[in-house]
């Protein structure tokens, strides 16, 4: 399972490269910057693992690559215009991703901050609120961009509301899966598997070295 997900992630990264190359070759440059940025973002988990030893769960890693892949390939192939609901699909992918990252962060906070204790039911409630709040912030950002830079990111009331509806659904899904995940793998084990401790040591080491060298 793990190997297969890794392989699929690599295949999708290759697909993103293919979009960049195809764009340059055919002179269709609109999606080339997006492809390059997406490729860079999809390598951030690997960079984190190499330099800080932070290891995100394979599933989350896969989800990050998949969301970027669907956005870039869909954009390059014109799916945003030709397939109805494509923008809502990618929107839901990215909002569930943000919900999942929020989940990882809040579990880490719960583990490391002594004055905080967040039982699982509260955790799931928090994730729904977090995902929804981020969705609202996202729409506000689009709105600000449209008003100030006169772009056309928001298509109208219905489009925005459906986006928010999907944010809510994504939040619920992440909450359910996240809590299920914690039931299967205990929170302690989960945080250990992220290797946050090692990352902290590395950062402390680095800061210490810098202080010594000054």
């Amino acid at each position: 399972m793990e190997e297969r997900l890794k392989l699929l992630s690599r295949a999708m990264q290759a697909g993103t490269v293919a979009v960049a190359v195809a764009g340059i070759v055919t002179g269709n440059l609109t999606w080339v910057p997006a492809a390059i940025i997406a490729l860079f973002i999809s390598f951030i988990p690997s960079i984190l693992r190499r330099d800080l030893k932070i290891t995100l769960p394979i599933e989350l890693n896969f989800w990050i690559v998949l969301a970027l892949f669907l956005h870039v390939v869909g954009g390059f192939s014109g799916f945003y215009d030709s397939i109805p609901g494509w923008d809502h699909l990618t929107h839901m992918m990215s909002s569930s991703l943000i919900g999942a990252l929020g989940f990882v962060m809040v579990v880490i906070v719960d583990k490391y901050v002594k004055s905080i204790y967040l039982p699982r039911p509260f955790l799931s409630f928090f994730i729904v609120m977090f995902t929804m709040a981020m969705g609202v912030l996202w729409e506000l950002m689009e709105f600000a961009n449209d008003s100030l830079a006169h772009t056309q990111l928001q298509y109208g009331l219905t489009d925005t509301m459906v986006d928010l509806l999907f944010d809510g659904i994504a939040g619920f899904i992440v909450a359910i899966f996240g809590v299920q995940y914690l039931l299967r793998v205990s929170a302690d084990h989960f945080v250990d598997s992220l290797h946050v401790d090692e990352a902290k040591d590395k950062i402390v080491d680095y800061l210490q070295k810098r202080r010594d060298s000054v």
Binding site: K114, S115, L137, E139, Q154, L165
Partner: protein
């Protein structure tokens, strides 16, 4: 006999100012109560849910401590009730028709009320469940809660519009502006409540018995 002496000692401990404060709080809560009854009778689902949630959070400490003076501070109760009152009053409806800025005012009132509910939730979760937060996390939660609920709220309004063929949400711009007010109001109240809890006098804290629980002081998990 024992119960009687407890009651009398309870009453002598309460100053006239505390009685006036509690009365103000009860009056504001009655406004909230009747507004909720009204929305329930009108099958105004979202607002009825809002009112029921607010009232539940208001009466929970009073009932659990069996002491009517453990009511929410009156200023917070007024904030809690304000958007309900603005929503149902026909005077507010007339203002809305004539003045564009009135909508911003109602949006802001809604945001302040949501933030108050969020604060009450952090307090009562720590009173009645195992949840523990420190102050920065509680502030973050209040802001998240305000924005998250308002997002779900607008989706609910939209679904209501589609189901009833109504047009309560007129434009994308209107919804976005209400989000702007929610963002402003939520963040503002995150900080205001932090300062408020620091500024409130020790005496009052003791009478209210509720408000010091924004966080449980010196709580540490092992």
């Amino acid at each position: 006999m024992a119960a009687r002496s407890r009651t009398s000692s309870l009453l002598t401990a309460i100053t006239p100012e505390a009685i006036i404060e509690a009365e103000l709080s009860w009056i504001a809560s009655l406004v909230l109560f009747f507004a909720t009854v009204y929305t329930v009778l009108k099958l105004d689902v979202l607002w009825a849910a809002f009112g029921i949630a607010a009232i539940s959070l208001y009466v929970l400490p009073i009932i659990s401590m069996r002491n009517p003076f453990r009511a929410l501070p009156w200023e917070m109760t007024i904030l809690l009730a304000a958007p309900m009152l603005l929503h149902i009053s026909s005077g507010s409806g007339i203002m809305l028709e004539h003045f564009g800025w009135w909508r911003h005012l109602t949006d802001l009132a809604f945001a302040l009320s949501l933030a108050t509910i969020g604060l009450l939730l952090t307090v009562e979760l720590q009173m009645y469940t195992d949840v523990r937060m420190n102050r920065p996390f509680a502030m973050l939660f209040v802001v998240m809660f305000t924005m998250g609920i308002s997002g779900l709220w607008q989706v609910g309004e939209y679904i209501g519009d589609v189901v009833n063929h109504a047009h309560n949400l007129t434009s994308n711009r209107q919804v976005m502006m209400s989000f702007v007010w929610v963002l402003v109001g939520g963040m503002l109240m995150g900080f205001v409540y932090d300062l408020y809890l620091k500024a409130i006098s020790e005496n009052r804290k003791r009478t209210l018995g509720l408000i010091h629980l924004w966080e449980v002081p010196k709580w540490k998990k092992d």
